[in-house]
C-alpha cells in the first residue's frame, strides 16, 4: 500500500524520496497520530510534501489511492503483494535518484528495502488489527486504471466512483498554490522574480580594504577589519534557442523573459540553432550567414562557468540527433548527440527549457533522447519548471 502510494506520488511529479518514505513509517510506528485516516493524511502530508505548490497534487493522489478506504466492507488485500516484484523494482530503478539508490544499497539493496517495507507493514498490521483500516484496504488498485502506461503509474480514472462523504483531501484547499500551470501574463511577473533571484545569487561579503585602512588608522593602528557585501551579480548565462519551428512563439517569449532582466546578469549571451545543435550556431536569425559562429568557437569563448539554457521543443526525427548527416538543413559530419555532449561536458551547468507541456513529452521519442543526453535536466516552461531550472543551474 505504502509503496503504491509513494510511487503514485512520484509519478504525479512529487519528489518524495526513500528518506521520507522511511520517515513516514517511523512516524507511524512512534504513534504520534491517532489511527484515523485523517491523521494519517496529515502525517503523510507533513512527511512527504515539502512545497505548498505540491499540496493539491498530493490531495488528488491521496484521494485516488486511498479511495474507498473507509468503506466498512473493504476487502482486505495487500496491494504490495499484488504487484510483481520485478515490476516494482524496474519502476523504482527508473524513478529513484542516485542518492536514493545508494541509500538502498547501504541498507542492503533493493530486496532489503522491500523486505523492510513488508516487515514494517506486517508490524503495523499485527499491532492495530481491525483498528486502522489504512493498510491494505485499497478499494481499487490505481494500477488497474484504464490504460497503464509504462512511463509511470497512471492515476486518475473516474473519480466519482466510490466517493463517500467529502474528506479533507477531497476539498482541494491548496489548489491555488499549484505552480504547474503554463506561463501567462499573470505568471510572467512571478517568473521574472524567480529569474531575478537566480541572477542575484551569491551575495558574499568581501574585505573593504579602504574602510579597513581608515578604521585601523582611527584605532591607532589596532586592526579593525571592515567587510562590505559583494555587489555585482555573478551569474553568466548562455541562451541557446531553437528557432524555425512550431514553437517559435514560445521560444520568443522565453527570449523576452530573459532579456527583460538582461542587466541583472553579469553576462547574458544568446545564439540560435534549428532543432538540434550541430557544428554552427548564429546570433541573428535574419542575417544567419553573417552572424554564424562555430560551436567549437562557442566552447572556446565561453568558460565552463557559463550557465547554459537551451530552449526548444526537442521534437524532431530521432536520426536528427543520432545520425551523422541527420540534420534537415545541411550535411553534418558529426551527429547532434556528439555536439550536445560536447556542450554538456564543457559547461558545468546546463539545462533544457521545453515549452511543450510536460505531459506530452513522452509522445516524442526525440524529446526523451535529448532529456537523456541532458541527464534529465529538461524543464517545462512553467513557474515550477523555472524553479527547477534555476535551482539546477544555481547548484
Amino acid at each position: 500500500m505504502f509503496a503504491t502510494f509513494i510511487l503514485a506520488l512520484r509519478s504525479a511529479g512529487l519528489p518524495t524520496s526513500v528518506t521520507e518514505h522511511l520517515a513516514l513509517l517511523n512516524a507511524m510506528r512512534s504513534g504520534v497520530c491517532d489511527y484515523s485516516v485523517e491523521d494519517f493524511y496529515f502525517l503523510s502530508r507533513a512527511t512527504l510534501v515539502k512545497d505548498e505548490r505540491h499540496l493539491d497534487r498530493f490531495d488528488r493522489v491521496f484521494a485516488e489511492v486511498f479511495k474507498g478506504l473507509e468503506r466498512p466492507e473493504g476487502e482486505d488485500h495487500e496491494l504490495m503483494q499484488q504487484l510483481p516484484e520485478e515490476w516494482l523494482r524496474k519502476l523504482s530503478e527508473k524513478i529513484l535518484t542516485d542518492e536514493e539508490k545508494q541509500l538502498i544499497e547501504a541498507a542492503g539493496g533493493f530486496d532489503k528495502l522491500m523486505e523492510m517495507l513488508r516487515q514494517r507493514l506486517a508490524e503495523q498490521k499485527g499491532r492495530h488489527q481491525g483498528g486502522s483500516k489504512w493498510i491494505g484496504t485499497a478499494g481499487t488498485s490505481p494500477f488497474g486504471a484504464n490504460g497503464y502506461n509504462p512511463e509511470g503509474v497512471r492515476i486518475g480514472q473516474d473519480k466519482s466512483r466510490n466517493r463517500s462523504a467529502v474528506k479533507v483531501w477531497d476539498k482541494r484547499e491548496f489548489k491555488d498554490l499549484d505552480g504547474d500551470v503554463e506561463l501567462g501574463t499573470r505568471t510572467m511577473k512571478l517568473a521574472l522574480r524567480r529569474l531575478r533571484r537566480f541572477a542575484r545569487q551569491g551575495a558574499a561579503t568581501e574585505l573593504d580594504i579602504g574602510g579597513t585602512i581608515k578604521a585601523t588608522a582611527n584605532n591607532a593602528g589596532s586592526l579593525d577589519l571592515k567587510m562590505v557585501a559583494e555587489r555585482h551579480n555573478a551569474v553568466k548565462v548562455l541562451l541557446l534557442l531553437d528557432i524555425g519551428g512550431s514553437m517559435d512563439d514560445h521560444v520568443r517569449a522565453c527570449e523576452e523573459l530573459f532579456s527583460a532582466i538582461r542587466t541583472e546578469f553579469k553576462h547574458l549571451e544568446h545564439y540560435y540553432f534549428h532543432n538540434c545543435i550541430y557544428e554552427k550556431l548564429w546570433k541573428n536569425n535574419r542575417r544567419r550567414k553573417d552572424t554564424e559562429t562555430t560551436t567549437w568557437d562557442l566552447l572556446r569563448t565561453y568558460g565552463p562557468d557559463y550557465k547554459v539554457i537551451i530552449v526548444g521543443d526537442g521534437a524532431m526525427a530521432p536520426y536528427e540527433i543520432v545520425n551523422p548527416g541527420g540534420s534537415v538543413e545541411h550535411w553534418n559530419e558529426e551527429s547532434g548527440k556528439v555536439w550536445m555532449q560536447r556542450i554538456t561536458r564543457h559547461f558545468r551547468r546546463t539545462a533544457w527549457l521545453n515549452p511543450v507541456p510536460q505531459d506530452q513529452w513522452r509522445y516524442s521519442a526525440s524529446t526523451g533522447m535529448l532529456s537523456e543526453i541532458m541527464e534529465a535536466r529538461m524543464f517545462p516552461l512553467t513557474l515550477e519548471g523555472l524553479d527547477g531550472l534555476t535551482r539546477e543551474l544555481a547548484r
Binding site: 512512534s30 491523521d39 507533513a46 535551482r391
Partner: protein
C-alpha cells in the same frame, strides 16, 4: 507530552500532527505560510507546551551558517596580541558560541527557532545540513567536537523568498499554515481577546474577510493585522454598528490603517468605495 492547541494559540489538527511528528522523530519542522499567520509564535507555543526553553535565531540576509555554530573573533585576538594581553595565548577565549552551540550545550532539551531562513544566502541551509542531521560539529580552532547533549527541537520558518535545497527539505517535516477559515479565526480572536464584545468581533471579522476577498490587494491583511485592528477598535470603544454597512456597499473601515498598510491598497479601497457609492440603489 504532546503539543496541542491551547487557550493562547489555536493550532489546527494538521499542525498538531506535524509538530508532534517532528518532535518524535527529532527532525526539523519547516513552517511556511502567509506573513502574520503565526509561524514565529508557533515556536514560542511549542516551547511553552513542552516546557522547554526557547532559543531564537533570527536570520538576516547577511547571516552565515557558521555564525550559528561559532565565530572566531580574530580581530579581538589581534588587538589583544598588540596590547600584550595574556588571554591571547588561548584561542578558546576568542571562540564566540552561536545559537546552535547554545542549544547543543544546554542542560535541558530546548526548542531552537531558526526564523525566516529564506532571508539568508541560498547556501545557508546546505551549510547547516550536516550539523542539524548529526547534531554535532567540529571546532577547527580548538580541535574539539561539540555534540548535542540532547537534540533540540528545531522549528524553521520561511516566507518563501528563496527556494530551499532538496537535500535540506528531505530531512524536514513540512507544514504550510493555510490561512485560517472563519471558524478558526473566531477562535484566534477569542484567544487574544477573551472579553471582546461578540457583536464587535463578528462585525470586524465580516469586514476583515470582505477585505481579504479583494484579490487586487498588494498585501492582504493577515491574522496579525486583524488582531492589531481589533485592539484599536476596542481601545477606541467603537460601537459595532459603525462596521456594518446597511447594504453591501464597500466602505473604508474605521482605523483601516491597521489593516491596509500599503498606500496603493488604501487607494484601491477608496476607489472601490467611490464606485459603490455611485451605483444606483437597488
Amino acid at each position: 507530552m504532546a503539543f496541542k492547541s491551547t487557550a493562547s494559540y489555536i493550532a489546527t489538527r494538521d499542525l498538531e500532527v506535524a509538530v508532534n511528528a517532528a518532535v518524535a522523530l527529532q527532525r526539523p519542522l519547516l513552517v511556511k505560510g502567509e506573513p502574520g499567520t503565526g509561524k514565529t509564535v508557533l515556536a514560542h507555543e511549542v516551547s511553552r507546551a513542552l516546557g522547554m526553553p526557547l532559543i531564537e535565531w533570527h536570520i538576516k540576509s547577511t547571516t552565515k551558517a557558521q555564525q550559528g555554530l561559532y565565530e572566531y573573533d580574530a580581530v579581538s585576538r589581534l588587538r589583544d596580541g598588540q596590547l600584550g594581553d595574556e588571554r591571547v595565548h588561548d584561542i578558546g577565549n576568542y571562540i564566540v558560541r552561536g545559537k546552535l552551540w547554545e542549544a547543543f550545550e544546554a542542560d535541558q532539551q530546548s526548542v531552537l527557532l531558526i526564523d525566516e531562513i529564506d532571508k539568508a544566502d541560498i547556501e545557508f541551509p546546505n551549510d547547516l545540513l550536516l550539523e542539524l542531521d548529526r547534531m554535532q560539529f567540529y571546532v577547527y580552532e580548538t580541535r574539539k567536537t561539540v555534540v548535542a547533549k540532547q537534540r533540540p527541537i528545531v522549528i524553521i520558518t520561511s516566507n518563501n523568498e528563496k527556494e530551499l535545497p532538496d537535500a535540506f527539505l528531505r530531512r524536514c517535516f513540512f507544514h504550510y499554515i493555510r490561512f485560517p477559515d472563519r471558524e478558526t479565526m473566531e477562535q484566534i480572536v477569542q484567544s487574544h481577546f477573551p472579553d471582546v464584545k461578540q457583536e464587535l468581533a463578528r462585525e470586524a471579522l465580516n469586514v476583515f474577510f470582505q477585505i481579504r476577498g479583494v484579490n487586487e490587494l498588494k498585501k492582504k491583511p493577515a491574522t496579525s493585522e486583524l488582531l492589531d485592528w481589533l485592539k484599536l477598535l476596542m481601545i477606541e470603544d467603537l460601537p459595532p454598528e459603525v462596521l456594518r454597512s446597511a447594504d453591501s456597499k464597500v466602505v473604508l473601515p474605521p482605523l483601516h490603517g491597521a489593516l491596509l498598510k500599503n498606500e496603493q491598497d488604501v487607494h484601491l479601497f477608496e476607489r472601490l468605495a467611490f464606485l459603490s457609492r455611485r451605483q444606483p440603489q437597488r
